[in-house]
């Protein structure tokens, strides 16, 4: 089914691209009275007429298949109501309607065999056909992956439209050009040779611009849809793009040879032979371009790389963090980078001198290779298929607390309760910076499959996938808690690094909110309290709540004990008006207790979602810290919701 869908899409894409390029080539070559040129014009128009019909037919096929896909049953493709609904009630359906409306108008226009012997008539007729075909092609971007990007939809669609237009100009024009060159290279077509040479030269210039536009828009598309190297090599979408690039290389090689070698030879003595060769090469280029369209179609059908978990295909990756963890690698990296830089300088210099170029280039490449070997090899670390997987669970107290329970049951025996190592075995501490810097996906692989050579078992059988991610969230929190020991009741300006785990805030039976909702709006003073010891402090907070509130702070109180009656327990006088968590307090206390294990603790969380100060026993002097945060000029970016 998927293959059939791809075949239909490919036919539709090709039959939409080719007529646009064909009319572009006609307009580019210009009006001519020469009989061979007129014949070529007629042939191209006849083929385009047929292709537009194919585009409409395959477009209808595509719509029916998509309807079946939307409705999730094959027979829906034959139900007028379902098809009607897919066309009129969905955005891609409306785009389809607009495009096919234009294609129908184009068909009608091409079916009218008007007399275009006059130059102005000819230009108007071909220009009109070009405009209609181009519009029908460009509208395709309105329902592509680009249209699903927010924010910045307009820019993404414009980039995609440019890509389609470039494709139309370049891919579509190749075949008609090959036809013209072949016709002109024949004995009977001698009259059209200057016309064909001029057309080939004009196309060469236009194709260069189209190719640059294609590359620029392609890179911008890839940056938005693929985002990372892991997604490029680890997802179907990314690999299809690599395949596209692989096909593009020989095309560019051919284009370069055509432009630099054959094109200048067209007007020489061996012009006819050169023309025949050019026709053949352009034909090959057109064939390869059709393969590109098939790959582009497959990319349209695949999930965009940014939504697909990447599967890292290599057993290694480069890690710059090694430079921090193993100081001895620094000088090697430095030496390697310098060698590579010298190599690059020599390589550039080789283009500027006349001799001995080959020797210089060989030396330069050897230097770059040696530099890479010396500098990069120490940065190589083990990697696993899941290294770049993003955790499906957010860094939330509920997940961390579940992870803590799983850890105590399955991991603490070897790793110790605090992650520092057990009594009988001494694995590397989980709280060390090097563990904290490991990718979450890497930890996921190690927890799932174990490290047999070090005696760590795999937990794929014993723990569900969500439980394994919970443990990873907990391990992250362990590392963060270890690092947070130095953090106290004084805000350090412009140093936000400790991400506040998200928590659910349930007050009575009201719909619960989350800590993350305060991001970008208010600071939060999270207070873990135990009665009766915390009562004086809570009374103080209740009395100063209005001042804190006006200066941008929300106070959220979390009891360290069973909390259903927490609000009533606090009493009516003085009135406590800030949110008091009455449900789910256990997870919050377990998680935030890792940072401050006492009976009363306060955490000042800034507007970006970072913990900036911790009071481990009681609180006080909060107002001064709040003012400091309010004076901060460049707040840190919002932290990721998932650990990585």
């Amino acid at each position: 089914m998927r293959l059939f869908l791809l075949a239909v899409l490919w036919v539709h894409l090709a039959s939409s691209v080719l007529p646009m390029g064909a009319f572009f080539m006609l307009v580019l070559a210009g009006y001519s009275r020469i009989s061979t040129a007129r014949q070529w014009d007629q042939t191209v128009v006849a083929w385009s007429r047929l292709l537009v019909l194919v585009a409409i037919g395959s477009g209808i096929g595509w719509l029916l298949l998509r309807t079946a896909g939307f409705e999730n049953r094959l027979q829906a493709a034959l139900e007028p109501r379902a098809v009607w609904h897919a066309v009129l009630d969905t955005w891609p359906g409306l785009v389809w309607l607009a495009r096919h409306g234009l294609l129908v108008v184009l068909t009608a226009f091409l079916a009218m065999r008007a007399n275009v012997a006059d130059k102005r008539d000819w230009i108007a007729a071909r220009g009109e056909a070009l405009a209609l075909a181009a519009l029908a092609l460009v509208l395709m971007s309105g329902s592509s992956h680009a249209a699903a990007i927010t924010p910045g939809t307009a820019l993404a669609v414009a980039v995609d439209a440019t890509h389609l237009l470039g494709t139309g100009v370049w891919v579509g024009a190749l075949m008609p050009l090959a036809l013209l060159l072949r016709a002109a290279s024949r004995g009977a077509g001698a009259d059209a040779r200057p016309y064909a040479v001029r057309a080939a030269r004009r196309f060469s210039g236009a194709a260069l611009i189209a190719m640059l536009l294609l590359m620029a828009s392609g890179v911008m598309n890839a940056l938005v849809q693929i985002e990372s190297l892991a997604a490029l090599v680890g997802t179907t979408h990314g690999r299809l793009l690599l395949a596209k690039l692989a096909v593009l290389v020989p095309i560019l090689g051919l284009a370069l040879m055509n432009r630099t070698r054959i094109l200048p030879a067209l007007s020489g003595s061996a012009g006819r032979a050169a023309m025949r060769r050019l026709a053949a090469f352009v034909g090959v280029e057109a064939g390869l371009a059709l393969v590109l369209l098939a790959l582009a179609g497959a990319m349209t059908l695949s999930t965009p790389a940014r939504h697909d978990p990447p599967v890292w295909p290599f057993p290694f990756r480069l890690s710059l963090e090694i430079l921090t963890d193993v100081p001895a690698t620094r000088w090697r990296a430095w030496l390697g980078s310098q060698l590579a830089v010298v190599g690059l300088v020599v390589l550039i210099a080789s283009f500027l001198v006349s001799r001995p170029r080959a020797l210089m280039r060989a030396g330069a490449l050897a230097l770059v290779a040696t530099g890479a070997g010396v500098g990069l090899l120490p940065l190589v670390v083990d990697a696993y298929p899941t290294t770049y997987r993003r955790p499906p669970l957010t860094y939330h107290a509920t997940s961390i607390a579940s992870g803590m329970a799983v850890y105590r049951e399955h991991c603490a025996a070897c790793h110790g309760a605090t992650g520092a190592g057990g009594e009988t075995s001494a694995p590397p501490p989980l709280t060390s910076p090097s563990t904290s810097r490991r990718h979450a996906g890497e930890l996921f692989w190690l927890v799932t499959h174990g490290i047999p050579q070090r005696g760590m078992p795999g937990f794929a059988e014993r723990l569900g996938e969500a439980q394994r991610w919970d443990v990873i969230n907990f391990i992250r929190a362990l590392g963060a808690a270890e690092g947070s020991k130095t953090l106290e009741g004084q805000v350090e300006l412009d140093r936000a690094w400790l991400v506040a785990p998200d928590v659910s805030i349930s007050v009575g039976p009201l719909a619960p909110g989350v800590l993350r909702d305060y991001r970008g709006r208010r600071m939060v003073l999270l207070v873990l309290y135990t009665l009766p010891a915390s009562r004086p402090r809570l009374i103080e907070l209740a009395r100063t709540y209005d001042v804190l509130s006006v200066t941008g702070v929300e106070v959220i109180a979390v009891p360290t004990h069973r909390a259903a009656d927490a609000i009533r327990e606090l009493g009516a006088s003085p009135p406590v008006l800030f949110p008091v968590v009455t449900d789910g307090e256990r997870d919050i206390v377990a998680t935030y207790g890792m940072f401050a294990p006492g009976a009363h603790a306060e955490f000042l969380i800034d507007r970006q979602g970072y913990i900036r100060a911790i009071w481990r026993a009681g609180g006080g002097g909060i107002q001064a810290q709040v003012e400091k945060l309010n004076e901060e000029k460049a707040p840190a970016p919002f932290p990721d919701d998932h650990v990585h």
Partner: protein, 140 residues
């Protein structure tokens, strides 16, 4: 008669057709498109009006003055004063987002029927936020 002179050349036909299309689309949007947007706005306003009238009708059946509306809310009592109730509440449709608000209490007997920490359903009556007062309270 020579018909050839009366027939427009193809390029002129195309030009006229394209102009017609462009002007048609432009005027079509200027007229129909903008009208559709205006209708959408009117529809939203009408819906808000209907909701308002419904609240006024509800207020009327419980003996309110003309022009007063009635809103329903759910929340947790946070503080009680003789003339005031402080409630942490969910969104009150057509009046307030979820937050903690102090409302005037019409009946001074409320403070006898509820306690701090009680989850409640409550009715508000008034013309705007500032004069909305709690007129009924029951345990949630």
């Amino acid at each position: 008669m020579n018909m050839g002179r009366l027939v427009m050349p193809v390029w002129q036909v195309i030009l006229v057709l394209n102009l017609t299309l462009a002007v048609g689309l432009g005027l079509g949007y200027a007229g129909w498109g903008r009208r559709a947007e205006a209708l959408d706005r009117e529809f939203e306003a009408a819906r808000a009006q209907v909701e308002r009238l419904e609240r006024e009708r509800q207020a009327c059946t419980t003996g309110a003055r003309a022009g007063q509306q009635q809103w329903e809310g759910r929340g947790v009592v946070r503080a009680i004063y003789p003339q005031l109730l402080v409630i942490t509440h969910e969104e009150i449709r057509g009046l307030l987002p979820a937050r903690t608000t102090s409302f005037r209490a019409v009946s001074p007997t409320f403070h006898e029927s509820v306690q701090v920490g009680d989850p409640i359903r409550f009715s508000l009556r008034g013309t705007v936020v500032d004069d909305a007062a709690v007129v009924a309270v029951e345990l949630w």
